[in-house]
């Protein structure tokens, strides 16, 4: 059952990722990306990382995608400008080169010794466990994230001010 789910979700994720980069209409790309993110969220769920599953849906498939679609709307691209966004020879070449490199690395990680098993039973992705880790051993990075977000907000306000 799980392996069937895994294959379905993976095929959907990869196919929609390819669509994301190959469509010349940015809106089609954005929608394919949404599908891809949802499929990846499903993969998280099959790994029993429930917290990540929810976050992936809420933040990436939800909030981030809405922002992306807003930006596309604000850019208001013309038909002719969209053409230039499509795939071209050099772009296909470079991106497939990178893809081959990444796949090779992943294959090596899969077969190689050392490292660790990502689906080991020790890893428990429930919200309770994640909260425990975040607020004990990772409390410092957690606080740094809050400062980082604050700095980013202040920065955006500065750049967006009507006049000084």
């Amino acid at each position: 059952m799980e392996s069937v789910l895994f294959w379905i979700l993976s095929v959907v994720a990869v196919a929609s990722a390819v669509l994301t980069v190959s469509r010349s209409n940015p809106l089609a790309s954005a929608l394919s990306l949404t599908v891809c993110l949802v499929a990846v969220a499903g993969l998280f769920a099959t790994l029993s990382a429930h917290f990540l599953f929810i976050i992936q849906l809420l933040v990436y498939a939800g909030a981030v995608m809405v922002l992306v679609i807003y930006v596309i709307m604000l850019l208001n691209l013309k038909e002719r400008e969209m053409k230039a966004l499509g795939l071209s020879g050099p772009r296909v070449f470079v991106s497939s080169l990178v893809a081959v490199f990444v796949v090779a690395l992943l294959a090596r990680a899969q077969s190689g010794s050392g490292g660790f098993d990502p689906v080991s039973p020790v890893l428990d992705g429930s919200a309770r466990r994640v909260a425990e880790i975040i607020f004990t051993s990772y409390v410092y990075p957690f606080e740094v994230v809050s400062i980082l977000l604050l700095a980013a907000v202040v920065g955006v306000v500065v750049l967006g001010m009507k006049k000084f």
């Binding site: 690395l105 090596r108 990680a109 190689g112 010794s113 050392g114 490292g115 660790f116 004990t136 051993s137 990772y138 409390v139 410092y140 990075p141 740094v144 994230v145 400062i147 980082l148 604050l150 700095a151 980013a152 202040v154 920065g155 955006v156 306000v157 500065v158 750049l159 000084f164």
Partner: protein, 494 residues
């Protein structure tokens, strides 16, 4: 029973970061009421952080917390001190510029403090997660600050360029971190051993790429001239000094962990093919920086290329050769570099004017300044002599330490290239001096006589010469203390 959430050690180790982050918050908030006093508030927090950092300089044993998230030792304290000094200069020289352009907002100083807090964190961690967060925390305020002159197209261009390229480099660093984690199963660089060699080495290289971008080493330097030129000059000065200090400081720590042959970063330093990459990078960086600087007529662009060249000299200290990483040489050089670069930019600030919203910083405009403004002329000459490495300045002594250390580690060919490069650099460093003293025009030049600019450049001149007399008069007060701190900071590394 759980261990206590906060202990005295934790507070002691993290207090400089906490103070700076709190300062950034308070100063940004204060902008809502008293936007004119931002620099003063920010300086207050900076001095407080200095005061809390000082005891750490004599820390017997390093404090490590949360799996390497915070590593407080004499090294991080010394680097933190230099970063704060760079920040202090930025706070001193910014108000006159902002005031004459009518944009003296407290948020500006808040962002400087946020950026500083990221840098302080950056040099005191071995944890990849915190390293990445610190990198972002120091970069994001800088992206905004480089676009602070919104009336100037070049400022916006600089911000956009820096932001896009910086985001890419952050992503590359993050990808490298993911590979390192996948290969070794830990995010604490101090605990990384073994793992798949290909994965680990690829990860280490990608992380290194992120660093090379931030320090503007060739071939990741393309952004530097445009960003340095377009950003407001006080921010250029701050970026050119503090980001270099932070990246080289963090790299020193990471590379010194590579003493264990099983550490992923050891592959970069001592691996058979990989060991050849760093020397090439150093040679390319210093040569390209110097050659491109030769033809610049805009002094900000010239100083940008010069900062690329100095990154090349500093990379020399990171090559272990037959010994270890030259922490002492790098630290002293960074100290000198901080003073001379800030000083040179301060003079540029005093002499810069605006023409239709654009900043004008062409060298030819400086004709005759040397006689009309003796102090500015002499100060600029000292800074440029120091950048070129001419005694008796701290720049000379920094180069001497760095190059002689490299010779001792068996890197003589590299040092020959570096010395030739220094000789080349004298040409373009002396050109502004020539214009200052040997040409004259009738067109009056507007000079900003703000007290804070004069204080900053005077302090930089005095310190440069003071620490430049090192080999002969080692007993000048303060000089042995600095050498002692540099030495003990270097000794704090594993």
């Amino acid at each position: 029973m759980n261990p206590p959430l906060v202990t005295g050690d934790m507070l002691r180790a993290a207090i400089p970061f906490i103070l700076l982050a709190a300062g950034g918050t308070v100063v940004s908030l204060a902008g809502a009421w008293r936007s004119k006093r931002g620099a003063l508030f920010a300086a207050l927090f900076l001095v407080l952080a200095f005061w809390k950092l000082f005891p750490l300089l004599d820390l017997e044993k390093g404090i490590e917390l949360w799996d390497g998230a915070v590593v407080a030792d004499r090294m991080s304290a010394f680097l933190g001190g230099m970063l704060l000094l760079s920040g202090l200069f930025a706070l001193i020289v910014s108000p006159p510029v902002l005031r004459r352009e009518g944009r003296n907002r407290a948020e500006y100083y808040g962002l400087i403090l946020f950026s500083l807090s990221g840098m302080v964190l950056f040099v005191s961690t071995t944890n990849l997660l915190v390293l990445f967060l610190a990198l972002e925390l120091m970069s994001i305020p800088l992206y905004v600050l480089s676009g602070y002159n919104r009336g100037d197209d070049r400022s916006g261009e600089a911000a956009l360029k820096y932001f896009l390229l910086g985001s890419f480099s952050s992503a590359i660093l993050l990808y490298g971190a993911a590979l390192l984690f996948g290969a070794t199963g830990t995010i604490n660089m101090a605990a990384m051993t073994g793992g798949d060699p290909l994965l680990a080495t690829a990860g280490a290289f990608l992380v290194l790429t992120g660093f090379l971008f931030k320090m503007a080493a060739v071939p990741f330097h393309m952004w530097a001239p445009d960003v340095y030129d377009g950003a407001p000059t006080p921010i250029t000065s701050f970026m050119a000094t503090s980001v270099k200090i932070a990246t080289f400081g963090a790299l020193l720590r990471i590379f010194s962990l590579a003493g264990g042959a099983a550490n992923p970063f050891a592959h970069i330093l001592t691996g058979e093919n990989a060991a050849k990459i760093l020397p090439w990078l150093a040679v390319m960086t210093m040569t390209l920086g110097n050659v491109c600087a030769l033809t610049q007529t805009n002094i900000k662009r010239m100083l940008a290329y010069s900062s690329i060249a100095h990154a090349g000299y500093l990379l020399l200290g990171l090559i272990p050769g037959s010994g270890a990483v030259d922490a002492k040489g790098i630290l002293y050089y960074l100290f000198a570099y901080l003073l001379m670069t800030t000083g040179a930019f301060t003079v540029v600030i005093a002499l810069s004017t605006r023409d239709k919203g654009r900043e004008v910083t062409g060298v030819e405009r400086y004709a005759g300044i040397g006689f009309r403004r003796p102090f500015l002329g002499i100060a600029m000459a000292v800074f440029l002599f120091s950048l070129a490495g001419i005694p008796p300045t701290a720049g000379f002594f920094g180069k001497y330490l760095l190059f002689s250390g490299a010779v001792h580690r068996g890197l003589t060919p590299l040092v020959v290239v570096a010395v030739l490069n220094s000789a080349l650099s004298v040409y373009y460093y002396l050109r502004p001096v020539v214009v200052f003293y040997m040409r004259d025009t009738d067109t009056p030049v507007r000079v900003d006589d703000a007290l804070s600019l004069r204080v900053a450049s005077l302090a930089a001149v005095v310190l440069l010469i003071w620490f430049g007399c090192l080999p002969n008069i080692g007993s000048l007060p303060g000089v042995p203390a600095l050498l002692h701190w540099v030495g003990s900071a270097a000794a704090a590394l594993p």
